[in-house]
């Protein structure tokens, strides 16, 4: 009787994706691995990268963030410089949340101007996020794609708007983040739809929707793991780097509630809540982390071994 020997490695490899930088900046390349994280075998040419979020619009900061990024709220360019300069963020996620009708409703042209401002303030790679309102985003993404004078990534493309987002990105040479709500099949479907449009696979990142610690983290963990296993097993549509937003960690009461004296210092608690969420994402296989607390950039980068 013959016993099949275990396969020593995976047949597939994750596409290497580069987030381009401006003159004088350092591009970020992630992906390219043919193995799972935390394990000794396989090749891991690129370590995961940690970036920070820059937001427009009104911001209600929890105690742990008010003291650190609070002074830069309302000034995206200054915040961007600080993140990429002093705090060591390797890339920036510029969220144009301020264009949402419920968040002040900044105009589309204002949003595009912010993008231009941030891009000239720092050479770091940038991912630009829409505001989440379908009608506004339909105007915002083309405007941003045109306004960005160097290649960025547009976040995010989903089933409803992917033609618009990917079309704008293709026309101006940007990349896209393909989004799905914690569902491996929908993640694959999104990437197949993008491929049908002729979108180059090395300009696509997967955003699997990241739940915060205690608030859905475990679902995200297993979906990232499954996406990665499928990609490494040869499913090309899922062989893309994974981007995780840690912002959901800051929605947890445990991260923000100062009134619970027995829970310990709310500043340390908030920061750790985000860090723990990020560590779990790294262990699951995430390639890009977007955090909000400045000290988590170094901590998570230090943990991003491989």
């Amino acid at each position: 009787m013959s016993v099949a020997l275990p396969i020593p490695g995976f047949p597939g490899r994750i596409f290497a994706v580069t987030l381009p930088a401006g003159p004088g900046g350092t591009p970020v390349t992630v992906g390219g691995q043919n193995a799972l994280p935390l394990l000794p075998e396989g090749e891991h040419p690129n370590a995961p990268a940690v970036g920070m979020e820059v937001r427009t619009g009104p911001l209600e900061l929890p105690p742990a963030l008010a003291g650190t990024i609070g002074p830069f709220a309302g000034n995206p360019a200054a915040m961007a410089r600080k993140c990429a300069g002093d705090w060591g963020a390797r890339f920036l996620f510029l969220s144009l949340a301020g264009c949402h009708p419920d968040a002040g409703g900044q105009s589309v042209s204002f949003g595009a101007a912010v993008v231009r401002e941030v891009l000239s303030a720092t050479p770091a790679p940038v991912i630009v996020g829409g505001c989440g309102d379908e009608e506004v985003d339909a105007l915002l993404f083309p405007a941003v794609a045109e306004a960005a004078l160097r290649p960025v990534f547009l976040s995010y493309a989903e089933e409803k708007n992917y033609r618009l987002v990917a079309g704008a990105a293709l026309a101006y040479g940007h990349g896209v983040v393909s989004w799905s709500p914690i569902d491996i099949n929908m993640a694959k479907q999104m990437n197949l739809l993008l491929a049908d449009l002729g979108f180059p696979p090395d300009r696509v990142l997967i955003d699997p929707l990241t739940g915060g610690l205690g608030y859905g983290m475990e679902y995200t963990f297993s979906i990232i793991e499954r996406i990665r296993l499928a990609g490494l097993s040869g499913d090309a549509a899922l062989a893309r780097p994974v981007l995780c937003h840690l912002g959901d960690a800051w929605k947890a009461r445990e991260a923000t509630d100062a009134s619970e004296g027995t829970w310990g210092d709310v500043d340390a608690r908030g920061r750790r809540w985000e860090e723990t969420t990020g560590l779990a994402c790294l262990a699951a296989g995430a390639d890009l982390l977007v955090c909000r607390h400045p000290s988590n950039v170094a901590r998570l980068s230090g943990a991003a071994w491989r």
Partner: protein, 558 residues
């Protein structure tokens, strides 16, 4: 107070029905035996029971189902319109009259040749006759057999008269529960339909004789009605029928007409609440229960039933696939009646649609096979993307409607109704849900027994829709798992073929009885993997498009 309610005259039948205050026009029509479409069973959901009213009435002006101009012209929904006073004239609009389905569909029997061994050999003075019946949700079909030699004497079909109380089974069960005397009415309608069918069979028979045996295959709800048991438990958790086996009884016990009152009635056993004797008969006709190779059997209807197995084991499930292929839930959908588009081709360059119509007249809508073709062609031509959304291609053939952007299949000047026959994104989404549920049901059965798709040697497609569908179109949109076209075999009316087989050979009937206990019922609502399989199917052709491409590259554009 208004005058007393007078009489209600229904046109074009010209029948007068005495008015009863507080009773809807639909209820009056039912009482008077007037044919009137009511797919939802009078729940005011479908908007298909349209009548033109002259006289004083109240209600039935649902703005969601009728336009302002229609309401002004006196058009009402019969299920929500009540007579108020005086005589009323009610004209049933052409689109709301059930069309007669005359086509008789034979079933194939692939179980193999066998000696003639009739169920009973009654030594009567006259020729012993047997009747095989397929009691479908919408259609009743029957075959009359000479039990002295097994030859077929006549064939007939008829509409199931229960249709007026709801087009789908659940509507009928609700009708039976919520209407006073509803159960008796539904049972009476079924019996009258069956009696009428048998009468026509006997009239058409060249040989006079006496019916000694009846074998009937029907879904679980119809079998319950026929046997006189309430089907109510089937629609409530845990969805179990009252009984799965129906011991043979003479017709007089069931209350049938004298022609079959002395005959022995054998009703095929049910496998579960939503997998009935029609499926058991289908298994019999396919012969999958006699072979060593593993087969899949699909019965495509409102509920898609799937059976997987071979001679040693079988597992079955029912998936609430939805009525998209029976013309429900699709704006331009209709049953396979004259005037329905049965096949569609789209010219990729111009996006112009060509079609063939049942009965060669002008098209009024699309039946299941036409809907399936249309979806496959829209996808092949690149007019819709894999997620079922319109792309920029073929924009010239689209226009906006109150239901969103829609592809114009037939322009109004060529249609029978004077309106465009259109297909919109929500219609395509409903087809996607239907096909995902059916394909996922088969995948769930394979997963439950741990077999790969490659293990399936034959795929049988039972039912009228299964007989007329274009297999290439079906596989292009992923209605079935990716299995080579050569392994597919349409069975036609397998339920009738199975009943006929059992009538001619008593061993077959014994097999049917043993299938009931030898086939496992797999409950999809408690299958944890089903929702994921379903989500995988909500894509064209499937999220696992590689398998479709590798197995079916030659047949489909994947």
């Amino acid at each position: 107070m208004a005058d007393e309610t007078g009489s209600i005259r229904f046109h074009p039948d010209g029948v007068d029905v005495p008015g009863i205050p507080g009773e809807s026009l639909l209820a009056h029509a039912l009482r008077g035996g007037i044919p009137l479409l009511s797919p939802c069973g009078g729940e005011s959901r479908c908007g298909k029971c349209r009548v033109l009213v002259v006289g004083k009435t109240q209600g039935g002006e649902d703005p969601g189902a009728l336009t302002r101009a229609e309401i002004a012209a006196g058009i009402r929904l019969a299920c929500r319109c009540f007579p108020s006073s005086g005589d009323i004239s009610v004209t049933i609009l052409p689109g709301s009259r059930p069309a007669r389905l005359t086509a008789y569909l034979d079933g194939k029997d692939l179980a193999g040749d066998e000696p003639f061994l009739p169920l009973s050999r009654a030594a009567l003075g006259s020729v012993p006759l047997g009747v095989a019946l397929d009691l479908g949700t919408s259609t009743l079909a029957g075959t009359l057999v000479d039990l002295s030699d097994g030859s077929v004497l006549s064939r007939a079909t008829a509409d199931n008269p229960q249709m007026a109380c709801g087009e789908d089974l659940i509507s009928r069960v609700v009708f039976a529960e919520e209407t006073t005397g509803g159960f008796e009415l539904l049972r009476g309608r079924l019996l009258s339909g069956v009696d009428g069918l048998v009468r026509r069979l006997l009239e058409a028979s060249p040989v006079p004789g006496e019916v000694t045996d009846v074998v009937a295959a029907g879904n679980t709800v119809i079998s319950h009605f026929l046997y006189g048991i309430s089907p109510s438990p089937i629609r409530r958790p845990p969805y179990h029928p009252v009984r799965k086996e129906y011991p043979a009884v003479p017709g007089e016990t069931l209350g049938t007409a004298p022609a079959t009152a002395r005959a022995m009635w054998r009703i095929f056993p049910s496998l579960g609440g939503f997998v009935g004797g029609d499926v058991v008969a289908g298994i019999l006709a396919s012969g999958m229960h006699r072979r060593e190779e593993v087969s899949l059997l699909f019965d495509v209807g409102t509920n898609g039933e799937v059976v997987l197995g071979n001679r040693d084991w079988r597992i079955t499930c029912s998936s609430s696939a939805g009525p998209a292929f029976e013309g429900g839930e699709v704006g331009c959908g209709m049953r396979a009646y004259p005037g329905a588009i049965e096949s569609v081709r789209i010219e990729p360059e111009t996006a112009a649609a060509e079609w063939t119509v049942i009965g060669r007249g002008r098209p009024a809508g699309l039946c299941g096979s036409g809907i399936l073709d249309l979806c496959a062609e829209l996808f092949r031509a690149g007019i819709v993307d894999r997620a079922g959304r319109f792309t920029s291609r073929g924009a010239g053939r689209r226009r906006s409607t109150e239901r969103g952007e829609a592809f114009v299949v037939v322009p109004r000047e060529k249609s029978a109704t004077g309106c465009d026959v259109v297909f919109c994104e929500s219609d395509l989404k409903s087809v996607l849900r239907t096909k995902a549920a059916l394909c996922a049901a088969a995948e769930a059965l394979l997963a439950a027994v741990g077999l790969p798709r490659e293990a399936v040697a034959r795929v049988y497609i039972a039912g009228g829709f299964g007989n007329f569908l274009d297999l290439r179109s079906a596989l292009t949109i992923g209605l079935f798992p990716p299995i080579s076209l050569a392994r597919f075999a349409p069975l036609g009316n397998a339920s009738l073929a199975g009943a006929l087989g059992a009538l001619r050979n008593r061993r077959r009937w014994k097999e049917a009885l043993s299938l009931a206990s030898g086939t496992l019922y797999h409950d999809l609502s408690s299958d944890h993997g089903f929702m994921e399989l379903y989500q995988r199917g909500l894509f064209l052709p499937h999220t696992d498009e590689e398998s479709y491409r590798s197995v079916l590259a030659a047949e489909i554009r994947a």
